[in-house]
Symmetry: C2
Subunit: 435 residues, 2 copies
């Protein structure tokens, strides 16, 4: 096969065969095709798209570039969740123990913070001692004993994704639905799951800003999951404001504890968590509908089993559970600064991207790969779209170890809010469920 001919074929809008895609990707990962040819192919794919068969073929070759974990020796359905990322999205920490408490096996491989969005691994690592870099046998041992494990991507899972993503990042080819699909699905399929719940975020704090683009991505992810005989449900959920009220690594663990302990039983975060865990429990075959799964999730919170499961998995992965049991003992930031409203009115819009960037700049995320995360840094964001606010009301509290960074964040938060004189409707949290 001739590489230039294949690039031309894609460039001219003709679909490539499975064999052609396998040839291109495996040649690239084996360093037989130079970066400059593969980036030209990526740009052609970005602009001309890929059909469902091509996307599956791409996923397949990326998946098989590394190990595919076999979990057949663990009985029970293995179900994971993937979120496309947002601000304040700590649902993984909450729903993994809920689903596991219901008897679903939850092998969860998560990522680090990316840009303005936080990462589950960074959040978990704010618990002192928590190990996210388990090797494969530790991973399976924790999963077998506990029914849930929470680790980071190892370098032998879908290594092709790693090299392709690095090239996309520097060649303007990131925001492509088939390329994103293959990147997500190759990693998730390598976990050895039977089913997957997808939380596709939409709005000004998400990578997909419009519902149309989010539905397109969800459809592509679903088609690909089905091509690999996986059960799958996708939720299109709102990301036009931070999810819950806490943003920042320890702050998000703290809010997760509150949910798992049943201290917060309403609001967007609670609703989304029980829906996601309810769907996982349904896909895991433990109940006969999502509705029943939601009910079971609520009772597992009420009877303490979900929180107990969280404590168990943290303990098994080396984390200090004293901070889960007595979160008020966690180290405090040097600066805790309230942000007050300068206006009266209804909250109309929140620039969620900007709130995410403010948290990142406080130390909750990384601007550069080598930046060190400050686990206590973050924002408690008190308001939601539609809330009626009076001048002087506290809209947020900034937690930081740097006075200068706090001041920058305070300004960013103030600037990120738009008010309206007339009443504003709250956005719908779950916009669509696609199966």
């Amino acid at each position: 096969m001739n590489v230039v001919e294949l690039i031309r074929k894609k460039r001219d809008g003709n679909p490539l065969s499975k064999v052609e895609i396998e040839f291109l990707v495996s040649s690239y990962t084996e360093n037989k095709i130079p970066d400059y040819q593969f980036s030209s192919f990526l740009m052609a794919s970005y602009l001309k798209g890929m059909n469902a068969e091509e996307t599956s073929a791409l996923t397949n070759v990326m998946l098989n570039s590394g190990i595919v974990i076999n979990l057949n020796d663990i009985t029970g359905k293995k179900i994971d969740k993937h979120s496309t990322g947002g601000v304040g999205d700590k649902t993984s920490l909450i729903i993994a123990p809920i689903a596991a408490a219901a008897g679903v096996i939850v092998p969860m491989i998560s990522g680090r913070g990316l840009g303005h969005t936080g990462g589950t691994l960074d959040k978990l690592e704010s618990i002192p001692g928590f190990k996210t870099d388990l090797n494969l046998s530790e991973y399976k041992r924790v999963l077998k004993k506990c029914g849930v494990v929470l680790i980071g991507q190892t370098k032998n899972i879908a290594p092709a994704d790693k090299s392709i993503y690095a090239l996309r990042d520097v060649t303007g080819t990131v925001e492509s639905i088939p390329l994103i699909t293959a990147s997500i699905m190759s990693k998730k399929l390598a976990e050895g799951v039977d089913g997957l719940v997808l939380d596709v975020k939409t709005g000004n704090g998400a990578f997909m800003r419009t519902t149309k683009a989010s539905v397109e991505l969800a459809d592509s992810l679903i088609n690909t999951a089905k091509a690999f005989n996986k059960k799958v449900v996708a939720l299109i959920t709102d990301m036009n404001q931070p999810l819950g009220n806490y943003i920042g690594n320890w702050l998000e663990v703290y809010e997760s504890i509150k949910i798992l302990k049943g201290k917060i039983v309403s609001g967007d975060l609670y609703q989304l968590c029980i829906t996601l865990s309810g769907t996982m429990i349904y896909l895991g075959g433990k109940v006969s509908s999502v509705k029943e799964g939601i009910k079971l999730s609520e009772s597992l919170i009420r009877n303490g089993k979900a929180f107990d499961k969280f404590v168990e998995v943290v303990k098994r992965q080396g984390g200090d559970i004293n901070y889960l049991l007595q979160p008020e003992k966690y180290p405090k930031p040097k600066f805790v600064i309230d942000v007050s409203s300068a206006k009266d009115g209804y909250i109309k819009e929140i620039n969620t991207y900007s709130i995410g960037m403010a948290a990142l700049e406080l130390g909750a995320g990384r601007l550069k790969k080598e930046d060190i995360i400050d686990p206590v840094a973050g924002i408690i964001f008190n308001v939601k779209i539609g809330d009626k606010i009076k001048k002087g009301d506290r809209i947020a509290t900034v937690h930081s170890n740097s006075k200068l960074k706090s001041e920058i964040a305070v300004n960013k938060i103030v600037d990120s809010i738009t008010y309206s004189k007339s009443k504003v409707n709250k956005p719908k949290l779950i916009k669509r469920i696609i199966t």
Copy 2:
């Protein structure tokens, strides 16, 4: 400026500014941008196009990547011709001396054979001793004394074109009108010309197969030439059959001598040559219309001045003029094989690409860069579309030093011709003249 942002801008279909294009191209040629980013940009440009301003900016930065020859010390208008390439296209060898004989200054920088099309340099080098690699001062000296010079591209002319073309060749981004335009015009403008005649070929032996694409390329070339204040005329000419009857390096020099000596005064090659040289003479200000230029061209052939000019330039560039004066003395190929028609009928179509490839495989061109050209190899192709042929008529003669290659070529030639039982119209040679 951020390279990825510029790639994304082009990818999303937004035009880049002059400064942005200059930044990208000059950074690339200075090795500050890696190949993989530039190839992604090239593919985005291929698929999203470039407007006239972008094309001019690209031409300008490529032009200024090397030396721009100053011919101000040579009096008279400097006019060149550029052809997009075809099979049997030896017009440069004929029209350069005609125009020079009319007093036009013709600084002609030509290329080598590319794929199925021959190259003027390879043809000239079939004349023993002919030097195409003159340095700049030799180039100017010959041009000053003789009014015409015929050389190859030196590495200090538009070096950016060389590196960009090499990258396009391996990344599926060759057939792009703005990229082709900038590649052609950056080299032609570097010659220091005042005006340019463009011969844009169209048909199954050309790089642009449709008239639409050829007109688009011609328009783009004209716009760019005008942006640099150059006089320009473009001819869209037929390339659905070989031009003239001879294909191969020495064979084409031989046919050129016949035209210049006035031994062929009709047919497509003759008509095209006098039209092209007539246009050059007109752009050179020596006559007041193309029609007068054509008349003058014919008289310069009749009175021997055009041929004398050819002999003069060959002599000044080191060529052995004995072969021009007595072409029958040129070495003969080992095998001369006639190809006869197996059918009766009218010639309907000729697969000109295939004829070009047959000549190349005989040794008239290069499949790989390092292939050595056989100057005597080639094809005398006797028939034209519309000709009435009887079974057994000679349709071609193959010249070669290899029996095996001859046999392959014979089969290719036979297969390249389609017959019709009913009369077939001859294609129009000059389809359009655009100014």
